[in-house]
Amino acid sequence: MFHWLEKHPFFFAVGVFVTIAFAGLIEIVPNFAEASRPSIGTKPYTTLELAGRHVYIKNSCNACHSQLIRPFKAETDRYGDYSLSGEYAYDRPFLWGSKRTGPDLMRVGNYRTTDWHENHMRDPRSVVPGSIMPAYAWLFENSADVDTAYAEQVTVRDFFSVPYNQEIPMKDGSKETVVLADTLAGAQASALEEAKLVAADMKDKSVQDAVSAGQIPEIVALIAYMNSLK
């Protein structure tokens, strides 16, 4: 057997590959499968949150803000519990970021509020003196793209079995369901309902008028996304 392998370098190479690949399979795959399972309490994004996530990506927020809290005391003091891989199960793509020009936003929904984001996005220095973040005034005028968000929801449900309309276990033992509408019109309506809840906590009259008129400014979607980061 070994003499034969020595005389046939191609099959020798195949044998080496199979041996090493087997070791890799039994060591890596089970761990990987376990770690990529959604954590308890991690929910898929609603239509409006996903539209907000698109706004986040479109404005390149991830270039300055990470979404990954490392297990160091100094970091968990500031940003909350360290991140688990399962918490990114529904993030496509993940937005870990690689540089913190601004603070981490992994759990920003726990310690910032709708009206704070509103003030901060319009004029960061009005709430954080010395901040170098630019103002994002156009978010108050542009409309969020709910249709694309809905398309992504349907896609991830069909291709990656993201559990929309299914019960999801939460940390306190309760179950929650993230509803995905059957039709685009239904998704638009449910996104608007969500937007109304966010807009109710906002001060900007034009945003509230727009939402009452059935439009969803980008800022509303973005805030819904920020508030969902917990």
């Binding site: 297990p71 160091f72 005391k73 968990t76 003091d77 909350g80 360290y82 726990n110 310690y111 910032r112 509020t113 709708t114 009206d115 704070w116 003030n119 009005s126 709430v127 954080v128 003196p129 906590d201």
Partner: protein, 300 residues
């Protein structure tokens, strides 16, 4: 002097010349710069030693012939000398075996280390240290700590001077502003300020007219100074005659206290201005106590 030495010297001079140029051309040059001087000394040593070592081995390759006792066996005409393993190598080899056993069995047994484990140890050590150092803190030291907590966690909404940044959050330099009182009297309130659900009825339910509400709001917003409105008795029933609060019935109106601030930080609140998130997960008990002491001190 043969050709090899000559080339060696030419090479060494060339390298040292380049070193001289690059150091001399850099900022500061050699003048009193200890780091640059050390770098030059190191460069000279390296170049000279390398050149002489290379010359020695090139000579050896040119002139040496192999000597020693050959092993009996040879492999297709290729033989091997019988050399003893140098003692130093042998001891190092045995040493690595011993070290390897120590490493696997004692030093770092399988799965003995994890990032999260280290984090948990760090956190436990930090908490123990914090507890030991600050457990009995009070007075101005506690207020100072509270200010630090405030500047880390609270100032983004309440502002550096706790003035609420032009109405973006509550002004903590006074207990209650008239607009806040009015909002509570118009809408009622259920903010767990007592630590449990105990809703306050709206002003209308309490039998107050619109003008009563305005008068009472102005009076409380003014720190309960000035003429007491006729209908203030309705408030005093739960909040005390001077607005000093009654345990388990109504929170203090004429100032902050530890219980009140602790409850707000623990449960968050939603009021006239907006929502305040809870901070129970972000601050420990002592930090909350300190923040309470600081906020209380602001309006005194």
């Amino acid at each position: 002097m043969n050709k090899l030495t000559l080339w060696g010297i030419i090479f060494a001079v060339l390298m040292l010349g380049l070193t001289w140029l690059s150091i001399g051309g850099s900022k500061g040059g050699l003048n009193d710069d200890i780091v640059n001087m050390l770098a030059v000394a190191g460069a000279i040593a390296l170049v000279v030693i390398s050149v002489f070592v290379v010359i020695k081995y090139v000579r050896q390759m040119q002139n040496d012939t192999a000597t020693g006792k050959l092993a009996d066996k040879n492999w297709d005409g290729i033989g091997e000398y019988k050399n003893e393993l140098p003692a130093g190598w042998a001891f190092i080899f045995l040493g690595t075996m011993v070290w390897g056993m120590w490493y696997f069995l004692v030093g770092y047994p399988v799965n003995a280390y994890s990032q999260i484990g280290e984090y948990n140890q760090d956190t436990a050590a930090h908490n123990a240290k914090f507890e030991a150092k600050y457990a009995n803190m009070d007075g101005t030291a506690l207020v100072d700590m509270g200010e630090a907590v405030f500047l880390a966690e609270c100032k983004v909404c309440h502002g550096l001077t706790a003035d609420g940044i032009d109405g973006k959050a509550a002004n903590l330099n006074q207990r209650l502003e008239a607009v806040v009182v009015k909002n509570v009297l118009v809408n009622g309130s259920n903010n767990k300020l007592l630590g449990f659900e105990f809703p306050m009825p709206t002003g209308t339910d309490l039998g107050l007219s619109a003008s009563d509400i305005d008068e009472i709001s102005a009076y409380i917003g003014n720190g309960l100074n000035g003429n007491e409105p006729a209908m203030f008795g309705v408030c005093a029933g739960c909040h005390g005659a001077q607005g000093e609060g009654l345990d388990g019935v109504g929170p203090q109106l004429n100032g902050f206290n530890n219980t009140l601030v602790t409850n707000i930080l623990t449960y968050g609140k939603k009021g006239a201005i907006g929502t305040m998130p809870k901070f129970a997960d972000r601050l420990n008990a002592k930090q909350i106590e300190a923040a309470s002491a600081y906020v209380t001190s602001l309006s005194k």
